[in-house]
Symmetry: C2
């Protein structure tokens, strides 16, 4: 339930992998120069290093998938319920020999080997996951096997859990570590991984699986903008896993969508307030709107919810605008909604339809490219939003990305 | 598997609660002045605030306990096995209406109410626990109920897990947040709580339960010394909870003691290297030894292991000393051990006995006072070491503590 904003301050060194069976980004690499720069920088000097953010990103998802059209037929539901209704094309699932440990071992090994890093260049490793196969032992210590031959055991960080939000919590912890007095000049690695499976029923087509590892440090091409994030945390039972012996969650789908949209409203409000406050200090007086994001990415339970969410953000902009022009332009025809209250509209089909239509072009330009992996692989839980980030980076040229602000909405239930 | 060092830079505002049935510290309070100072300090200025550490600490443990002598008789083991052998007097256990959520709700509410804080003065709340009653929903979001009336939902941090180490990971994350660009001038709250229960057998008398909440911010009376901590992380199956439907862990007691002592050796080595490096930069050339700690506290699975650990640290000092005097003083009679290798001695009764005897006075002075809660309540898992800290603070005068360096060893299995 958080918003982070990355700004591609320089060209992002993303390379597309050769097209393979997965047909999606397989990770990005960064030059050796970055490693040397990081390791030689002066840690512990009492000031924050420059441009802390994501230096490289590695994605893993299963080779197996089911076509959502076939799943519709198998489940005996009307054609298009999963494809057009949810916006999902395929759903990835793990082979019998895979588990959360193997997914995370794979991405971390690939991140380090493809980035030609040495294992002792890493001083922190944290794992965000809600796929619990041991109530005490962390995935993190399983990953320490990869460090064994290097002799490096001085690696902080453990596992962190709050439904799909664990990856973002880990990223924030890693960035804070790099800015803190505890930083010793080495990289942090953030891992998020999950296997999302549901019992027979409405939620089953919203499964998925995968893991993402990110290299975090200073002088990053993808920078976390300082002081610009908003958090909304509340107690809810929209999605939880109280049956410890079962892989399946308990889900209240309608409640979960409401919780998601309310968190989006609240995070966007806090975020805009902080952004406008920073501008005011620089002498700029104007409201923050979606125009100020080049791209917007979301935690993606299913793609259709993300399209609705873009409409929701436009509703927020509309209600915050002092005198929105409803005669022409973006807000044309939205006059009937000028008096609505956000909290009254979570189940309103009229509001949803009107603002989804009004935001269609914004969605197409700023968000649709980021849904490649989500639509083809499903919901990876903690890595979901970072899969959107990877999809966006893999499909954009360095020229398109340089200087861009990417709005990011990370959500975890409960 | 970590070492943190706090230095009581100023008088610690601890007050003993009136003697109650638990006969142990019930928490410490801090003056309102601290709250105002924290909230008015300049966050986000690009530099670390001063003296980041623990401002207040609240302890909760169950009212019910079993006498270890009675447990010896009930289990049909020889008299003294749990009391003299493990060093345990009583073991706390939860009532039927308590769970991990209720323990944590209680300590957080007491910390805030007794400290006369407002709920919107808190900007981060993280929970370290290995008592998992839901695989997805965090204890953290349950605690958000306490914030409801204040309207404060902008509270970062979730749950974090790696056996008994989660509390220390949370504390480090909180301190890094206060030093980072994400800090907005508000307090962080760190919560650790667990219910430790074992199946019938050798490990059963090493159970316990409790929760501790800590208020973290700048200008703290108990400061985390910057740049001075050592971490050792490795993959092990000494203690884990693979049966998700069971409350009981799987334990290899002998292996776990070896893992604990090896982590102690490694953390102390890294810690000393960092301390000596800081001294060298200040022109001081001498080895770091136990003399440089006024007190030493430990994660306490059972009290006897802590006494052995003090001996183990003395063995480290002895082996690191260039020319230890074995004719007189601290190392008298230890000549036969001058050539041993640390890694060969984890199961050596001779080494253990000799160094435990040699370190008896160090243990009595620097560590024994910290074992009050551990010996009377048992192993609380994540809060264990912080229970030792509370025991120490509650039994020492402000004069004794001012300017003291407390060495702290936090351990989590797996």
């Amino acid at each position: 339930m958080l918003r982070l904003v990355g700004r591609a301050a320089r060209c992002w060194g993303a390379r597309r992998a050769p097209p393979g069976p997965e047909q999606a980004p397989r990770g990005t690499q960064h030059p050796m120069a970055v490693q040397r720069a990081c390791l030689s920088s002066a840690a512990g000097t009492g000031a924050w290093p420059k441009d802390v953010g994501i230096l490289a990103l590695e994605v893993y998802f299963p080779a197996q998938y089911v076509e959502q059209e076939e799943l519709e037929r198998y489940d005996g539901v009307e054609a298009g319920k999963y494809t057009r209704g949810l916006g999902q094309q395929q759903m990835g699932f793990c082979a019998a020999h895979e588990d959360i440990n193997s997914l995370c071992l794979t991405v971390v090994q690939r991140l380090v080997e493809r980035g030609r890093l040495s294992w002792d260049a890493i001083g922190r490793l944290e794992v965000g996951t809600e796929t619990v196969i041991d109530k005490s032992k962390a995935v993190k210590t399983v990953l320490m096997q990869l460090f064994h031959d290097s002799g490096n055991t001085d690696v902080e960080g453990i596992d962190t859990t709050n439904a799909c939000y664990g990856g973002t919590a880990s990223l924030f912890n890693a960035a804070a570590w790099v800015e803190s007095s505890a930083w010793d000049g080495r990289y942090a690695v953030v891992v998020c991984g999950d296997i999302a499976v549901y019992a027979t029923g409405n939620a089953r087509p919203t499964g998925g699986a995968g893991a993402i590892a990110m290299l975090v440090g200073p002088n990053a091409p993808l920078v976390l903008e300082r002081g610009l994030r908003g958090t909304h945390m509340e107690h809810a039972y929209d999605f939880y896993k109280p049956d410890l012996a079962s892989e399946y969650p308990v889900v209240d789908g309608q409640l979960s969508i409401q919780c998601y949209l309310r968190a989006l409203d609240r995070c966007y409000a806090v975020y805009r307030r902080k952004a406008e406050s920073q501008w005011q200090q620089a002498g700029i007086q104007r409201p923050f709107t979606l125009d100020d994001f080049k791209f917007i990415i979301f935690h993606t339970p299913f793609c259709k919810l993300v399209q609705k969410s873009v409409g929701r953000l436009l509703l927020n902009d509309f209600l915050a605008a002092p005198n929105p022009d409803t005669a022409a332009g973006l807000y044309k025809g939205l006059q009937p909604f000028s008096g609505v209250k956000l909290e009254d509209t979570y189940t309103s089909k009229e509001v949803e339809k009107a603002f989804q239509a009004a935001s269609q072009e914004i969605f197409n330009q700023k968000t649709k490219p980021s849904l490649l992996l989500s639509s083809r692989n499903g919901n990876m839980y903690t890595p979901s939003m970072y899969g959107c980030l990877a999809s966006l980076l893999a499909q954009s040229s360095a020229r398109d990305l340089a200087g861009s602000r990417i709005g990011a909405f990370s959500y975890g239930s409960g």
